[in-house]
Symmetry: C3
Subunit: 250 residues, 3 copies
């Protein structure tokens, strides 16, 4: 299951039913859980002098697509899924079933909850904190330097179930509230309230999130999104969401 052209370093712990693709390099001290598949052309456990640990842990039943680079010093829960050519630098801790889109670039020192999804080309600056069930769409940047270049790092915090749409920039230290929505192509300077929608350059409050309706003609609110969108989440979660959002009238 390990391609003969792959290079595997020392002190690597590989679980059962793991596949490692052609021309991939697994550096020293990497731990890969059972059932995980690493494509070809990857660098896994890329050494970094900035890593707080020389280990990298990738949970079970994960899938890392080709040409990805994941640094040493990070820990990923089970069910990690990446697109192609993702970069994840040192000292990231992520929960279960993180999905990272093609070409996304996590700069390190990030904390990420469970079931987070980033689409393609998402850039997380150092010190970014993402809650659970967060969605981040293509070409979004979470920044961290209030007056670049400087030695000050103020990470962005994105709370549970928040959604940041395509090509938006979140300025340093901003908090994006639970179940909120940042519209596409926005520049967010101020904290975003929970359950609200902001958009524009600079972003301003537009409405409550549940005032946005589904385009399917049902008249139902599009947010909170767990009221209608369930693809890829465990059945137990979806059932709880359905109960909760039907009861609340959302």
């Amino acid at each position: 299951m390990i391609h003969k052209s792959a290079i595997v370093g020392e002190n690597v712990r590989i679980g059962s039913n793991v596949k490692i693709g052609a021309f991939t390099t697994v550096h020293d001290n990497v731990v890969i859980g059972d059932g995980t598949e690493i494509d070809g052309y990857c660098e896994i456990g890329y050494p970094s002098a900035l890593a707080t640990s020389d280990r990298l842990v990738i949970g079970s039943n994960s899938r890392v697509r080709s040409h990805s680079v994941i640094y040493s010093g990070s820990v990923f829960g089970n069910g990690l899924v990446t697109g192609h050519r993702v970069t994840v630098r040192e000292n990231v801790t992520a929960g279960e079933n993180l999905q990272i889109g093609t070409l996304s670039d996590f700069q390190g020192d990030c904390r990420i909850g469970d079931f987070v999804r980033t689409h393609s080309n998402v850039h997380l600056g150092k010190k970014s904190v993402l809650g659970n069930f967060v969605w981040v769409f293509p070409y979004v940047v979470l920044t961290n330097d209030p007056h670049p270049p400087s030695d000050t790092l103020l990470g962005v915090t994105v709370h549970d179930f928040a959604v940041i749409a395509t090509m938006s920039v979140i300025l340093p230290g901003v908090s994006v509230g639970e179940h909120s929505l940042v519209g596409a192509h926005s520049l967010v300077k101020d904290n975003v309230d929970a359950h609200s929608v902001v958009a524009g350059v600079p972003a301003r409050r537009i409405c409550k999130a549940n005032e946005i309706k589904l385009t399917d003609g049902s008249g139902r609110p599009a947010y909170p999104w767990p009221g209608h969108f369930h693809r890829g989440y465990p059945d137990s979660l979806v059932e709880a969401w359905q109960r909760k959002y039907q009861e609340s009238g959302n």
Copy 2:
């Protein structure tokens, strides 16, 4: 012409005078036309459970640059040219002489006409439809979800000869008209009329496209662009364009 380190799968049909570079993987059921050159470090015919066919067809006299990933289930006409590290997912049908810029990311299920050019880092969401002679510049995103995340996919349609400038986002379901121009760094929410210019966040109509003049002092209109720009198109086309746009006074 196939580098000894390349990996070639089963049921692959390779034309005459094809080159395949070092460390490239060609998966099963790929068809590569005569005279095509695939650089190194590529994955060609990457398997996908979402592909409607297990074949990938790349036409003759094409050039795929290094580190690119092209999924199974797509068909490209002759003369495909890609930059480095492009990603093209499943179920794309493209006409002749498509040029895809470095790091561009086609999400699959797209229809693309003849002689389309995307510059670097162009993101085409699923269900995007591009006509013939379309130009898309760096960091443009064609979106598809009207209230993300959801199960609704409303692709963007870009008509013949339209131009979308750098860092613009086109919202779901929008139609960008023939010979129109979307200015740089715009957010396009509404359909764009043929032969018009829109720009801004959100984008508004600025003028007719032929009111923009070339900066060469000639006083000639910059649009329709086939009146002055011909690099890389077949002579027969260029001659027809010259007749047409000179006769029309444009």
Copy 3:
């Protein structure tokens, strides 16, 4: 120090203590200075019909990270540092200690001074000119075509110590002045005065750069940034900066 899977062409001059990683290709006529380290999966000296020279020169004590592609026809001073998957096309001349972020894309025919830093995903169009000590942040694009597509190339010029923040687009022919700051997510159509701040779509003058204060409570100005930011520059430079910016009251 050259991995056994690496491919090295003809007429390559490799200095002492050079490392070349697994699966990297060094094409013909490349010159690599002493102490330089090239990671795996790179293409170094990628041949180009547009290159004005068939040589590529990478100075001493440089570090090129994995999956990068550097074309023939360019010359880099000592101390080049790149992130992963950078693309640098032909005919770039760069001074000492250029740092290029992950996924950045230099389109060729650029002149770059000393100690320039680009963060991730910076796109430099052909004919871009960057002075010394310039900073460019993620997803910035320097454009060059005033009415795309056309045969006119008007490069952007960025002067010494200027800073361009995340996701900004600079239109063709614009000059960004010394010690100026372009705010995040801006569209810059007009020249930017030295020591000034511009922001917005389109960008307008906001204030003098030294009116922006550090967030550390010191009351000191954040610009000119060499008054407070010194990481990674030689001691002799930093001492001169400290004297200059303390004396001037900045």
